[in-house]
Amino acid sequence: MNDDQMLTCERLVDALDDYLDGQADARTRTAVEAHLEGCPTCPALLADVRAIRGAARALTPIEPPADVWRRVQARVHLEVPVRESWLERLGLSTRGWGALQPLGAVAGLVLVVSSLAWVGTRLAVAPPPVADGSGAHAEFQLAEAEYTDAIARLQEAADAAGPRLDALTNATLQSSIDDIDSAIGDAREALAREPGDALSQENLLEALGSKVALLQDTVSLAGDIEPGTEVQNP
């Protein structure tokens, strides 16, 4: 074996996994074995790496504490009927999208959102589809733009509706908006790192959709209330 074929201890590391997995080509295998024969320390290293790998592969699942499942259950139960729970918690019922009719500026927006198949659906169970294939990114950008536009317009309507809601309701809604904005920020950060990542795109559209629906609920709530009347919380 000439000098070019000789492995150093450092270069052995690169070939180690392929060698241990039996996937090294013949030339690499020969070079590794030649190095092991002449090296005073690498055979011991190899044996220890073999032991660590073997023990690592044998690690088993770890059961989480029982209360994790209870916390998952609680969060899912809070999320699933998100629209209904909002209204129930506030002691109100919705009259549906008719409540939006007095807000003429919002009517066209409802059509936009309807086209995205989000209106009236349960937020927790209906994330928007992100198509696969070459057109997926364009569809994502279109959906994001429509959501962003919808949010801007709904935000104006919600700001106008705010004074008709009591302080507790406004605070509760704002807290949820803050949570959603945080999720939107996280998704945008992830997309800045990997613009084409389908999961991050889905997360962003889901968070934007949640914000649209919550703002719609805000506007809808205000539409249920006679101007100048404060909501009485239960």
Binding site: V13, D17, D48, I52, P61
Partner: protein
Amino acid sequence: MRADDLELARRCREGDAAAFETLYRDHAGRLFGLLMRMTGSAHDAEDLLQDVFVQAHRKLAGFRGESSLGTWLYRLAVNHCLDHLRGKHSRMARSTDSLDAEDAPEPAAAAPVLPEAIARIDLERAIAQLPAGCRAAFVLHDVEGLDHREVGEALGISEGTSKSQVHKARMKLRGLLRGVTRGALEAV
């Protein structure tokens, strides 16, 4: 198998609580093990596991059976965990980098320093003591069985960096586990 997954996903989407609990019971152990080893923290792993299943509940409408439910959940968990670690790393980058830089190389040994069979509990405790960067690469490669290309893609690093990170983790583990009895590691 795939038909079973589709049926379970359908039942979950329709609000069948028993089906969702089945999904959790079937996969929580594997995912919790992954999250605990990746983060080195039981507390973080519990929070992340909750997030993963809440996310899964939201996203089941998009599950089309192209992979098994287990693989789908696993991907959710790895991505969520990596987002968590990136956020944590960016907050602690300076201290982590300096800690990594201060590590002295393990001295070479002429004979193996580890027993052929390493006790599971010793290895778990030693993994938890690894620096975050090389711990993630080690867990994905040596525990979860991803190859270096896949580890590189998951962590956003090159294949060569994955190899060096995994090697670094093994050498640190070798030092941590060298001559250590179970009692000694438990006292750490």
